[in-house]
């Protein structure tokens, strides 16, 4: 039974994946985004090879120097190599951004599936909760949760997830409602497939398109939020080379050492931009409504 039902669906999904990749090649912005992200990931993984200096090593004798032959981007207020810190900062930003996005997605997809698949009271309850959570400006709620839990990157991730899951829940619920009625789901059900099997095998894979788009876009948003909260002193604690915090620490030296303000901000922007490029591109590719519109009118 499984083989019959899943065989051609598997092929179909693989086809769709291939199509996505080839479309990605055509969408220049998305490709640029993907390339930047790949480069960032490589830099993060091979940070010790790229950088010559320990990002934590202080050398007070040479604090606040500008760019020179020894220090590509100069040093910070403790004489640490700014370049090393920025490169190691990729690790922090990417991992926290991705972890928070994945966690948020996990919660959102789970609740969305529950609401959409089981319906009834469960649906009503979850949707009312999303209504309420969406009634708060998200940064405000995130700030409060993170603040109350105490300044820590971990707490920011928790806060972001606690606030952000709603958008996934809504999208997934909508997809589930439409997929649930499809013939192959009905027939699988008739053949006695369990709820969990149906959810994992049929419904979940078919919701993933929009979910992946939202996630890509929200990684950028998460990185931005984490940097922002760290900037406000609610996130990373010293000496972590977190970009938002580095930026904040650079403010007192804005006149004397503007590089401490400029470079971390640039790093944040490039990273977020890459995810937005990719996310935008993926959305164009995966949203057939948008794509066909281009050619609809002759």
């Amino acid at each position: 039974m499984r083989g019959v039902l899943t065989g051609d669906r598997y092929v179909w999904q693989k086809k769709r994946l291939n199509r996505t990749f080839s479309a990605l090649k055509e969408n220049k912005l998305a490709a640029v985004g993907l390339i930047i992200i790949s480069v960032l990931v490589l830099m993060a993984v091979f940070a010790p090879l790229i950088t010559l200096r320990d990002p934590y090593e202080q050398n007070l004798e040479i604090r606040l120097t500008g760019s020179n032959e020894k220090y590509l981007m100069g040093t910070d207020q403790f004489g640490r190599c700014l370049f090393s810190r920025l490169i190691y900062g990729i690790r922090i930003s990417l991992t926290t951004g991705v972890i928070s996005a994945v966690l948020t997605m996990g919660i959102g997809v789970f609740t969305g599936l529950l609401a959409g698949y089981f319906g009834g009271i469960m649906d009503e309850l979850i949707m009312r909760i999303t209504d309420i959570v969406l009634s708060f400006p998200s940064i405000v709620l995130t700030l409060v949760i993170a603040g109350v839990l105490g300044p820590d990157l971990k707490n920011i991730i928790i806060a972001l997830a606690a606030v952000g899951w709603t958008k996934y829940a809504r999208v997934v619920r909508g997809s589930v409602l439409s997929i649930k009625e499809q013939e192959y789901v009905e027939s699988a059900k008739a053949l006695g497939a369990s709820d969990i099997y149906l959810l994992c095998r049929h419904i979940l894979p078919n919701c993933m398109g929009p979910v992946i788009v939202i996630m890509t876009l929200s990684i950028g948003g998460a990185i931005l939020s984490i940097a922002g909260l760290s900037f406000l002193g609610l996130g990373a604690q010293p000496p972590t080379p977190e970009w938002g915090m580095m930026l904040n620490q650079g403010v007192p030296f804005m006149r004397r050492a503007p590089h401490l303000t400029i470079f971390p901000g640039l790093a944040i922007m490039i990273t977020v931009l890459a995810f937005n490029f990719l996310g935008d591109g993926l959305r164009d590719i995966m949203d057939p409504r948008l794509k066909s519109k281009l050619f609809q009118k002759f």
Binding site: I132, P137, V148, K293
Partner: protein, 315 residues
């Protein structure tokens, strides 16, 4: 229309209940005894005597079930009593009201700036789709979306205040103090609105009635301004309401950087100081503004879109 409005307002009740519930819970989220925290606030940090803590627990009703506590708190909130700030001992409501103008000014001007930039840019981008101008401004918009607003704030400060000395660095007062914060917030919002304006405009100019308008022999700009714009603005206006909420969010960071005594900065300080009545007050305030600006948006949406205005009104 009236019935639509009534129904829309009725729908707010459960949402507001939920919002207040979450707000109320923030205090209980924190580690430690709220009564002790409050007393510490009152005594300027001194250790409160055990007995006083117990008395206050009793007085605050911390020994009674959570939902009863919530009910009591809600009753006070409805009467306009948000409690007193731990830090200053003054009523939170007074504090909020005294800070509101600074934030309102900022939100309004930044929204205005964002629309002023975004609407024309969005229109031009859509009309000249795939032109250099379009690609340029859309990449610009993506940059704007991706740029951390605290960074932009610092760059603007560096350039306009420190380098050129044109505008004040920080503080609150006349219009001059408002420019940089509003531009910071407005730029970020403009990026988002421009993208929306463009896609909305693109959608509209492919509609049949635009063809009709062109067939009438209308000059192209009249087709755009007279026929397309009003339709294309409908989703944008919807968004501007959400934007107001966004502006408030941005206010937290921007007000902190520019030392504007607004509600955003107040929230930041309160969170940092764990001043729970103040935090609750701010959160509630933001949520209310958000919820009601959405309501206003819905109403204005109905007003802009005759289809909703009449159908809902006639049912």
């Amino acid at each position: 229309m009236l019935r639509y409005l009534l129904r829309r307002i009725l729908m707010l009740v459960p949402i507001l209940l939920g919002v207040t519930l979450i707000t109320f819970s923030t205090m209980h989220l924190a580690p430690g005894d709220p009564a002790e925290l409050i007393l510490r606030g009152r005594l300027g940090g001194a250790d409160p005597p055990r007995q006083a803590v117990e008395e206050l627990r009793e007085e605050m009703g911390l020994n009674i079930p959570f939902y009863v506590q919530y009910g009591k708190w809600l009753k006070k909130v409805i009467q306009g009593d948000l409690g007193n700030s731990f830090r200053t001992g003054r009523p939170v409501l007074t504090e909020l009201l005294s800070r509101f103008p600074a934030t309102l000014e900022l939100a309004l001007l930044s929204t205005l700036i964002s629309l002023g930039i975004a609407v024309p840019v969005g229109i031009i981008s859509a009309v000249k789709r795939n032109s250099f101008l379009d690609i340029f401004s859309m990449i610009g918009a993506l940059l704007g979306v991706s740029m951390p607003n605290f960074w932009l704030a610092l760059l603007l400060m560096m350039f306009f205040s420190l380098k050129l000395g044109l505008l004040p660095v920080a503080g609150y007062g006349g219009f001059r103090y408002l420019v940089l914060p509003a531009v910071t917030l407005g730029t970020g919002m403009a990026a988002m609105v421009a993208r929306l304006m463009r896609s909305s405009m693109l959608e509209i100019i492919s509609q049949d009635y635009i063809l009709t308008a062109k067939a009438k022999g209308l000059p192209y700009y009249r087709v755009i301004t007279g026929h397309a714009l009003k339709n294309a603005l409908i989703p944008v206006v919807t968004y501007v309401g959400l934007q107001l909420g966004w502006a408030l969010e941005g206010a937290v960071i921007v007000e902190s950087i520019f030392a504007r005594p607004g509600i955003g900065r107040y929230l930041h300080e309160s969170v940092f100081a764990r001043d729970f009545p103040a935090i609750q007050g701010c959160v509630l305030f933001f949520a209310l503004v958000f919820v009601f600006s959405n309501l206003i948006v819905d109403i204005s949406y109905a007003y802009l879109n005759p289809r909703i205005r009449y159908e809902k009104g006639m049912e």
